[in-house]
């Protein structure tokens, strides 16, 4: 691996584990066992490292968020469950760059250039979730009982997007550090419990499976 890539990988790991605010470029150089000068040759400061990591995050999450907009999930395989599995993919991706979500306001304030780009991602997040909901309603997998389905979907999407954005800090606040699979699974379960009231019996099975999996995960990690 190139030094530049190694710097990025190490920085991401340290930011995720220790929190972005607690890590300096010196820490990164020390962790890699390279001289601060060598690090400076590749990145002129932490800003540049964060800008590059954010760029990676933007590409990866953008790519994932565009998938359900371009083509309904599970349209090829015929599995409605693909929509639920997609939530895992999404959350795994976000978990990979969790240092951003850990102190979102703080980071966006300090790196004001990222603010607009993050907002664009949020917008894309809403659009992706709205598209999924619309498709599921069209397939009558989701059956909102009220006739004002549109307003309902908007509010539901707002709730989903909010959970998706703050689920990690919520999990961290309430439960401290947990194994990644538990954190991610809990996030999916939270999203599913928002959708569950509108689901038919067939898809409720998945929700129940999620619940029992979560229980057994907690038991096995306790």
């Amino acid at each position: 691996m190139k030094t530049r890539d190694r710097i990025l990988v190490t920085s991401l790991q340290l930011f995720n584990e220790e929190g972005e605010a607690n890590i300096t470029t010196l820490d990164i150089a020390n962790a890699m066992d390279i001289s601060p000068g060598n690090l400076y040759y590749h990145f002129k400061g932490k800003d540049e490292i964060i800008a590059e990591l954010f760029h990676q995050f933007e590409l990866a999450l953008g790519h994932t968020l565009k998938a359900p907009i371009e083509k309904p999930l599970g349209s090829e395989t015929g599995h409605v469950e693909d929509n639920w599995f997609y939530l895992y993919v999404l959350m795994e991706e976000m978990y990979h760059y969790r240092f951003l979500y850990q102190s979102l306001d703080d980071i966006l304030q300090r790196y004001s250039l990222l603010q607009r780009r993050f907002n664009r991602l949020l917008q894309l997040k809403r659009l992706a979730l709205a598209t999924i909901c619309d498709t599921l309603i069209a397939q009558s997998v989701m059956r909102p009982k009220t006739k004002q389905a549109e307003g309902l979907v908007n509010n539901l999407v707002e709730n989903l997007a909010q959970t998706l954005t703050f689920w990690f800090s919520w999990s961290h606040l309430s439960y401290g550090s947990r194994p990644p699979q538990v954190v991610i699974h809990q996030g999916v379960l939270q999203l599913m419990s928002l959708i569950a009231p509108y689901l038919g019996d067939g898809q409720l099975d998945f929700y129940h499976q999620c619940q029992s999996m979560y229980q057994s995960m907690l038991e096995s990690t306790a």
């Binding site: 590409l59 790519h63 693909d82 599995f85 997609y86 895992y88 993919v89 499976q209 029992s212 999996m213």
Partner: protein, 181 residues
């Protein structure tokens, strides 16, 4: 005469090595000349050559960057969202089978079995003295029983054949009776 030939050969070899040597020296010379040339040019042009060199490095770095980003594109494209969804589905079904309702059912089965086992154990304990006493005694009678059954089995055959013989006798008698009537 016979001696000269090797001498000639060695001369030829010497010549060959000399030529090789010269070529090598020429190579060195050329190398040296190139170095000298570069040095003089360097001295003449002053700052220009390093600039050119820097440009080359820059161009190389840009190319490398391009190659790297296209590689990344390929990477993200190869692990498409659909593929990742499939992977999650596999993981999910695996963990579901191991942890889901199937496991609960298994637990219930194990519970039921252990309850039955406990009942059996209790029953055995209640008859504890009998069973332990019977165990030592049973061993010999059991063997006898098997041997006796074997012995019994062989003589049984004879009556069976006798019976069939008797039957056939009856049949023939009946036939005879029909014939007569």
């Amino acid at each position: 005469m016979a001696r000269r030939k090797p001498d000639d050969k060695s001369n030829v070899a010497d010549k060959a090595s000399e030529i090789a040597k010269n070529i090598w020296l020429a190579g060195v010379g050329a190398y040296g000349k190139a170095v000298d040339d570069a040095q003089t040019r360097f001295e003449k042009a002053g700052v220009e050559p390093p600039k050119l060199f820097k440009d080359l490095v820059k161009a190389g770095a840009a190319l490398e960057e391009e190659a790297r980003s296209s590689m990344e594109d390929i990477k993200t494209a190869s692990s498409s969202v659909e593929e990742r969804i499939n992977r999650v589905r596999e993981n999910f079904s695996l963990s579901r089978y191991a942890r889901g309702s199937d496991l609960v059912a298994l637990h219930q089965k194990v519970d039921k079995l252990s309850r039955q086992l406990a009942q059996l154990n209790n029953a055995l304990k209640a008859a504890g003295v009998l069973t332990t006493a019977a165990k030592t005694k049973r061993k010999t009678p059991a063997k006898k029983a098997t041997t006796s059954s074997k012995k019994k089995a062989t003589p049984r055959k004879a009556p069976a054949t006798r019976k069939s013989a008797a039957k056939s006798k009856v049949k023939t008698r009946a036939k005879a009776a029909r014939k007569t009537s």
